[in-house]
């Protein structure tokens, strides 16, 4: 499953952030997005995930193939770790949650309420959700926030396994994950500020 993005332009709150962005993500590959804060990485990932429409351009191969993980993990504090994960597994129609618990060393926490977990443990639970979606393309926004060194290694392993099974990953991150993937700096695609004359027409 190849994800192809062609001449994409996106806006955030009505302000253009990136334009004429094209890339291709083949099966088994990872693409790391880089760029300064506010450049539009999150907006790009949300657009690819289908949460907002692009202003121009085309995204192919994103229908029902994307597992998105944003800044929030979608964890319910009053449910246990197992209940949280089982819910997503049932929504995505995937099978067992055991491999996901194993991959992020969540077995000891399985019966704890998610509200009692630390920030890093919550993040691990949020990332383990990707493994129960069964979706081939992972779209991840700053996945390693609040993770410690060993958890980052668990995450990198999970991504490597996923790539090995023919999946692919689009990751916005500032740290080096040691992944064998391409790096895309979105800086050069920064949208030109609108002309003042243009702006005045709307005032």
């Amino acid at each position: 499953m190849t994800l192809t993005v062609t001449d994409l332009s996106i806006t955030r709150g009505g302000v253009p952030v990136l334009e004429n962005l094209s890339f291709e993500l083949a099966a088994g590959r990872a693409l790391i997005l880089r760029g300064p804060n506010g450049i539009g990485k999150t907006t790009l990932l949300r657009t690819v995930a289908g949460l907002q429409p692009p202003v121009a351009g085309q995204i192919d191969g994103a229908e029902e193939t994307i597992a998105y993980a944003g800044h929030s993990d979608g964890i319910k504090p009053t449910l246990t770790v197992t209940e949280n994960l089982t819910f997503w597994a049932r929504v995505f129609g995937a099978g067992s949650i055991v491999p996901a618990l194993d991959a992020y060393a969540l077995n000891d926490l399985a019966d704890r309420h998610a509200g009692n977990l630390s920030a890093g443990q919550k993040r691990r639970l949020g990332l383990s959700r990707l493994l129960v979606t069964g979706r081939p393309i992972w779209v991840l926004d700053e996945p390693t926030v609040s993770l410690d060194v060993s958890a980052v290694a668990m995450f990198a392993d999970a991504v490597r396994t996923h790539l090995g099974q023919g999946g692919s990953a689009l990751i916005a991150t500032h740290i080096d994950l040691g992944l064998d993937g391409d790096v895309l700096d979105v800086g050069p695609f920064k949208a030109r500020p609108r002309d003042v004359a243009d702006m005045e027409a709307y005032l």
Binding site: R46, A49, G50, L51, Q52, P53, E64, I66, A67, Y68, G70, H71, S72, D73, G74, I75, K76, T78, L79, E83, F87, W88, R90, V91, F92, G93, R129
Partner: protein, 218 residues
């Protein structure tokens, strides 16, 4: 879809889930009414159907705030929007879960509270029937209001203003069924109108809710 329904029900019964909030409010309103209007039983039985209906409606309104806001805050709504479930189904299930945890308890509690307001004998049956038919519409319309205001900080006031006018037809016909039933009059016309409103909202509003939710998720 069953997974989502069972999760929502589980969440509402767990600590801080808000189950019983509407019920407690309904109880307080109806218990306080005899104190405020006085103990004349003839007056109470005249106003009982209307007060019970109004209490149920406000109790429903009270719990709408949390319907989508909690899922929006913790990011679940983003994830549900990218899940294989259509957003229309997600919205419908959320409405159903809201009705089971708020509407249904109100329907069951109404006859008991009717006693406090000296509701005339034949009125109990019609009160329950009208609430059973009307409260699903309250949940579905409320979900639409919640979808419109999701993501707004302190959106509760705006949502009440948006939702209350939409509640008026249901209130008019629902209370009319209960009132006519209580005094032994024919109830068919308002009952059919009430059923029609409920059927139309259930059929149409989930689509509208899904559209506004997609816009709000951007």
């Amino acid at each position: 879809m069953i997974a989502l329904l069972s999760r929502d029900l589980k969440l509402s019964f767990r600590a801080g889930g808000g189950f019983g909030l509407g019920l407690a409010f309904f109880l307080i309103v109806t218990v306080m009414v005899p104190f405020s209007v006085g103990p004349q039983s003839s007056l109470l039985s005249t106003i009982a159907p209307g007060v019970l209906w109004l209490g149920a409606l406000l109790a429903c309104l009270l719990s709408l705030d949390r319907l989508l806001a909690l899922d929006w805050e913790d990011g679940s709504l983003d994830l549900l929007a990218t899940a294989p479930l259509p957003l229309e189904a997600v919205i419908s299930i959320k409405s159903l879960a809201h009705w089971i945890t708020t509407g249904l308890p109100l329907v069951l509690a109404a006859p008991v509270l009717g006693v406090l307001l000296n509701l005339p004998g034949p009125g109990y049956f019609w009160l329950v029937v009208s609430l059973l038919l009307g409260t699903p519409a309250l949940s579905v319309i409320g979900t639409f209001g919640a979808a419109l205001t999701v993501g707004l900080k302190r959106g509760g006031l705006l949502m009440s203003l948006l939702v209350l006018p939409l509640y008026v037809p249901t209130l008019i016909f629902g209370a009319e069924v209960a009132r006519r039933g209580a005094i032994g009059m024919e109830t068919q016309t308002p009952l059919l109108m009430l059923a029609g409103i409920t059927a139309a909202t259930i059929a149409l509003l989930p689509f509208a809710s899904a559209v506004v939710l997609r816009v709000n998720l951007r």
